[in-house]
């Protein structure tokens, strides 16, 4: 009797163990048979589907039997957490697109395969800014994909109705024009002459740069957060007053919840600072836009408080990397090669991006929907090059600081002092 019970229990336990083992081994055995690579791209790539499919075709043709699975993943911290989990589990994608301010953390952690620049098209003429975001200790770990700078996207019809001639050339004029717009359309309490979601730290730091401030400086091998310097405080005070006068956007949301293109199409925003690919969104019904805006929405570089200059734009961009966990690095390499040819980059640049090679500089000159973004990149800034920087972004230090400043929950001085302390401690931490 007793023995039978024990036997039943043991058998059950063994069955569970065996099933688990079987599941593990079958998964492991399945991989090498089908040479399949996975590619993670951000959703903007849907605007150049030809380049994506051509790259896939080229890679599949070169490696017989190979399969390329392109998946679209969102930007941001949640996606990075997903990537980290995949890296830990050893099933990360074979090619991953990553923002140029995020790569450094992964290069420092040894997450990316070292690459040979000579293999890739146009590597001699790659944009310097992007190439720098792919180098760590002088070695290359990713391939520049494309860059972009933000500019003011605006409703020409609203500007005209408010009696504004031309586009502002100084920050003071930008504010004066904004006040004209508020006078004309401000009866609607949701109307913003300039739509500024509180957590948009890219724009906030552009103001800091414009007034001669910096996020952090490095001295004698130590980082120090400097957002509480007098220059930075002045810049953020200016931004606060502009937002108070001109923006009704929520002070606790960021620049993609909702995308400002949506309120703009609803007539609730006459302008916002955004990327080149956000301009066509205003006329795209998918984002609540209407086709008529195709001829009504244009862009201009955001003017600086100094006449004749632009507000320094965050030089955003994307790179393509091969995680060390990839089992099919040759296919991954050939896919990236095919995806960054001159022809592909031309297609990528078409919606308003800056191609990864200087060869294609100036191809936008005659396109009024695209040229201002390339123009805005003349004055640009980039994040401090510390492997810890992505932690500043993902722990939301800057976003929290801006929410506190713009909602008035803390003075500019106290909010920036708190943030600077946090930035100093994060940048100097020794964890990777």
């Amino acid at each position: 009797m007793k023995r039978r019970y024990v036997a039943v229990g043991l058998a059950t336990a063994l069955a569970v163990a065996a099933a688990t083992a079987a599941a593990l081994t079958s998964e492991a055995a399945g991989k090498p048979a089908a040479a399949k690579i996975t590619v993670w791209l951000h959703p903007e790539a849907k605007s150049w589907p030809g380049a994506v499919s051509a790259a896939t075709k080229a890679a599949e043709a070169k490696h017989s039997g190979a399969q390329v699975d392109v998946q679209y993943v969102d930007w941001g911290a949640n996606t990075l957490a997903k990537l980290d989990a995949a890296l830990a589990a050893g099933n990360a994608p074979d090619v991953v697109e990553m923002g140029n301010s995020e790569t450094i953390k992964y290069m420092a952690a040894g997450a990316f395969t070292r690459l040979n620049a000579g293999v890739y098209p146009n590597s001699k003429t790659w944009l310097k800014g992007l190439t720098a975001s792919c180098q760590y200790n002088g070695k290359l770990y990713c391939v520049p994909y494309y860059a972009g700078a933000r500019a003011v996207i605006y409703r020409t019809d609203m500007y005209r109705q408010a009696g504004i001639k031309g586009t502002p050339k100084t920050l003071a004029q930008f504010v004066a024009d904004g006040q004209k717009l508020m006078k004309k359309f401000g009866k609607n309490k949701n109307f913003s002459a300039y739509y500024h979601p509180g957590k948009n730290w890219y724009v906030a730091l552009s103001f800091v740069e414009d007034y001669g401030g910096q996020v952090a400086v490095r001295k004698g091998g130590k980082w120090r957060g400097t957002l509480n310097s007098p220059k930075a405080i002045r810049a953020l005070t200016v931004l606060k007053s502009i937002v108070k006068k001109l923006s009704k956007a929520s002070k606790t949301t960021d620049e993609s919840h909702p995308y400002p293109a949506t309120p703009m199409a609803q007539g609730l925003a006459a302008s916002f600072i955004g990327n080149g690919w956000e301009l066509p969104m205003v006329s795209d019904p998918k984002w609540g836009g209407a086709p008529k805006f195709d001829r009504l929405v244009r862009a201009y570089p955001m003017p600086s408080h100094i006449k004749g200059r632009y507000l320094p734009a965050f030089l955003g961009g994307s790179d393509l990397a091969i995680p060390v966990t990839s089992k099919n690095k040759a296919i991954a390499r050939d896919w990236i090669k095919a995806f960054t040819t001159t022809a592909a980059e031309r297609a990528i640049a078409k919606p308003g991006n800056i191609a990864n090679t200087t060869k294609l500089a100036g191809i936008h000159k005659n396109n009024p929907k695209v040229a201002p973004f390339a123009e805005a990149a003349k004055y640009s800034w980039f994040i401090p090059t510390s492997p810890n920087w992505p932690k500043v972004e993902s722990s939301l230090v800057l976003q929290n600081m801006m929410v506190k400043i713009l909602t008035g929950r803390a003075s500019v001085k106290s909010a920036t002092t708190t943030a600077s302390k946090a930035i100093t401690s994060i940048l100097n931490s020794n964890s990777s």
Binding site: M1, Y5, L10, V16, D84, K105, G110, D254, P263, L268
Partner: protein, 323 residues
């Protein structure tokens, strides 16, 4: 479910005599072994899905474990460093205080309102009771993600029905009022959402308990001149006390580790003012890639919960012993 305990205990009492007789016939040890054997599969499963992760969590809390260590599966032993760091971190203590306050307020509101709804259910006619019970079950059945989306729309900054209604009712101008700027009103909304979602379980369980309270006791008390309030405190409450204890402990466990409601309500980017312990641990682990530190915070949480669970389990065991 919990409401069935008294009945279940009675059943156990009814079958006890024959079992005792059987036990007398055989060796006690032999009788117990098969029972343990039958527990093995469940123990294996619990060990795999609960025991191993907890072991892993505790071990990791003693390691320096960053992104590099995550990818290459090797941490460096740092002893109690992670714990020293969090215990010296003033933000950690803020977060602990916030979490405790949040738990106390949410549990108190859940229990109070849940009890009131249960008493209402007992008083209602059958049609209204059915209506109310159906409503409760619907709330219960709503997945958290859906509930958060609905609530988010209601309190939306620009288009929310709450701002619109308050403005229309002349409570002031709530156009473009952002409830989350001030963490107190922000947490008030999150509390409303959490309590709203938790009331059905408490109400329905207590209602089941209420149906077990002998009518004669209540009638006798009121004919002796006791007020409704008195009857509740001196008759109903003592009878249902075990259920109250269990529901309160469960609510504490749930509300102490609330994550989804806060996380989703703040668009997965919670401001520092909204950090509760679960979120703080998540941010440290998965956003800042300091998995060792995140684990240490989680271990503190687990340890706290063990204390609460201890009360809960002791109560369950006592319940079994009473009859």
């Amino acid at each position: 479910m919990t409401g069935r305990f008294p009945a279940a205990a009675v059943d156990a009492g009814a079958v006890a005599p024959p079992r005792r007789r059987r036990r007398a016939l055989r060796d006690v040890a032999v009788g117990k072994l098969p029972a343990y054997a039958l527990l093995i599969p469940a123990a294996v499963v619990i060990g795999a899905v609960l025991g191993y992760p907890i072991y892993y969590l505790v071990r990791q809390s003693f390691l320096h474990y960053g992104l590099h260590e995550l990818i290459f599966h090797k941490g460096t032993w740092v002893g109690l460093d992670n714990y020293t760091t969090i215990f010296h971190d003033s933000e950690f203590w803020h977060v602990v205080g916030r979490t405790l306050l949040f738990t106390v307020v949410n549990v108190a509101l859940t229990m109070a309102l849940g009890t009131l709804v249960a008493l209402l259910l007992a008083q209602l006619g059958s049609f209204m009771r059915l209506l109310l019970a159906t409503g409760l079950v619907f709330v219960w059945a709503t997945p958290v993600v859906v509930a958060v989306a609905v609530w988010q729309w209601m309190v939306d900054y620009q288009f929310g029905v709450l701002n619109w209604t308050l403005t229309k009712l002349h409570f002031g101008d709530f156009t473009n009022h952002d409830w989350f700027v001030n963490p107190w009103t922000g947490f008030a909304i999150i509390t409303a959402l959490v309590v709203w979602g938790a009331i059905p379980f408490v109400a329905i369980t207590l209602y089941a308990g209420l149906t077990q309270v002998p009518r004669e006791l209540l009638d006798a008390a009121s004919s002796d001149g006791a007020s409704t309030w008195r009857v509740f405190w001196d008759v109903t409450f003592p009878l249902l006390k075990p259920i109250f204890v269990i529901l309160t402990s469960l609510s504490i466990i749930w509300d102490f580790q609330v994550f989804n409601q806060v996380w989703l309500m703040r668009g997965t980017q919670p401001e520092q003012d909204y950090y509760v312990m679960s979120i703080y641990a998540y941010i440290k682990s998965f956003r800042v890639n300091d998995y060792g530190l995140g684990s240490a915070i989680a271990v503190v949480m687990v340890a706290t919960m063990f204390l609460v669970a201890f009360v809960y389990i002791r109560q369950m065991v006592r319940l079994g012993e009473v009859e």
